[in-house]
Amino acid sequence: MFLALKEIRHEKLRYGLIVGMVVLVSYLVFVLSGLAYGLAQQNTQAITSWNARSITLNDDANESLSQSLLTTKTTKALTLSKHEAYIGQTGVVAKEKGRAKLSAQFVGVDRNQFIYDRVAVTSGHKPKRANQILVDDSFRDNGYHLGDRVQLNSTSSRYRIVGFTHNAKLSVAPVIYGTLGTWRTLSHVTADFKASGVVSNSATFKPKTAGLATLSMSKFINKLPGYSAQNTTFTFMIAFLMVIAMVVIAVFLYILTMQKLPNYAVLRAQGIPARVLVSTTISQALILVVSGLVIGAALTAATVLALPAGVPMSFNMPLLSGVTGGILLTGVIGALIPVRIILHVDPVSVIGG
């Protein structure tokens, strides 16, 4: 550590450039991870807030909630407990005079079932009548207020915003909560249809009714349109970035080590053990990478503050720890590559003939 710190202090420009490179790599990885997680969350926020374990859909809906319709006849065969709830989902466009049009997901729920209780209200109250709706906070960010009377699609009815809820997004669109009756109106279906699906937070709810399929929430989330493709794309981008970072860091450390070989040869001639030189190289890499990560994290935090609210950036500690650990590991691997050269440095090379 002594040699590592002294060298860094003496060669400020050289090591500053390496730290700068680690800062850029870590900044890019952090921002991409934040965007990937943020986007993934915007696909599933509403579903996550329900805290459900499974969902039952029409067998022909190809595991898609928006394609599923459960008839009243079918649902009569189901025995629902307090752990199950009907939901009706359909895509809508919300508009109000003087406000921006917003594409949204309408979710109809039953007031007497658990999802209605799970939805958290940040201001106002939950809808109690058919013409009342509870909307995601992003409506407020777009100029909507409590009491606004919103037109949904081309229906003649108007729906009053009676409350706002936080982090309620589904397939990257803000959610509008209302009644199942409103859902039927917006979906242009008759009373013969009860809902789009049944969500349950019980492990035992597995209906055997013909024409229905029950799937776990994790499977359902993975089947959301574009969700897996987005996640896979981001995962590959981050993975490639990590590999490239490792190669770049390794090349830098290799060049640095090669430049230091005459010094190391002198130290080896004096009997300084190879382990001292190896630990110097590794601790130097750790100092550089940790410094780069700290600065990269600070830059990312500053970026989050500067970004507009609409940018889907979000962080979670396990993901962030994994990414940070990954960069740290790549730095150590990069530092370990020249260790073989250090172990075989020839002290004779610095003694003339």
Partner: protein, 223 residues
């Protein structure tokens, strides 16, 4: 018992038609309390001799004994420990780390070998003897060639080794400084019972030597 013994040491590089024998059946002894000078022209095998004596290179044939330890029988780790604790090298290339101040060069030794080094008072006296006591906060790159060489000498001596192997220690020094270094090596041998081996082509050091060897085309003779 001599501190350093080389018996029938031969060193050959290359193979077949490219084979070059740099040292031929060299016999050498350096006792504690003696300064041994090995004089020879450039390319005569002086540095090869020094690296073999210090356990950095192994001979093709023959044996090297350092304070009764046969270097051939020691593993690489033990040879490192022997070099660190018993042998001080003063190298032609100036054995200084470029990013450490003069003071930090000594701190590095303390960190690797916490015991057996010179006391702060003895170090101060050594630096004053060499005329470099005011340079402790300088980096090697800020020193002249002569100053660098004297710091390199101080660094090797700081470890308080029993054997000092010096490779052209006066190459960059004027005559006055040569006398200072020569006297210092002589005093170290006599007062502190060090075995000092100097390979050089600087004949000005001859007056400080107890024994002088000549090396020519790999063959060593007592002059």
């Amino acid at each position: 018992m001599p501190a350093l013994i080389l018996s029938h040491v031969t060193k050959t590089f290359g193979h077949d038609t490219n084979e070059v024998t740099v040292l031929k059946d060299v016999n050498f002894e350096a006792a504690a309390g003696e300064v041994s000078l090995v004089i020879g022209p450039s390319g005569s095998g002086k540095s090869t001799f020094l690296t073999i004596a210090g356990g950095i290179q192994t001979p093709t044939a023959g044996e090297v004994q350092v304070q009764s330890a046969n270097l051939h029988q020691l593993n690489s780790k033990d040879r490192d420990a022997l070099r660190l604790n018993k042998i001080g090298f003063i190298l032609q290339a100036y054995n200084l780390v470029p990013y450490l101040t003069v003071q930090d060069q000594f701190t590095l030794v303390d960190r690797v070998k916490p015991q057996g080094n010179l006391s702060p008072a003895a170090l101060r006296e050594l630096l004053m003897q060499l005329g470099i006591e005011r340079l402790t906060h300088q980096f090697p790159g800020e020193l002249s060639g002569g100053q660098t060489q004297r710091v390199a000498i101080a660094w090797a001596l700081y470890q308080n080794p029993d054997i000092i192997l010096a490779d052209e220690p006066t190459a960059a020094l004027d005559s006055d400084r040569v006398k200072v270094v020569g006297r210092l090596l002589h005093d170290l041998a006599k007062q502190h019972h060090k075995a000092i081996v100097v390979v050089t082509h600087d004949l000005r050091l001859k007056e400080f030597a107890d024994k002088t060897y000549a090396i020519m085309d790999g063959q060593m003779t007592l002059a």
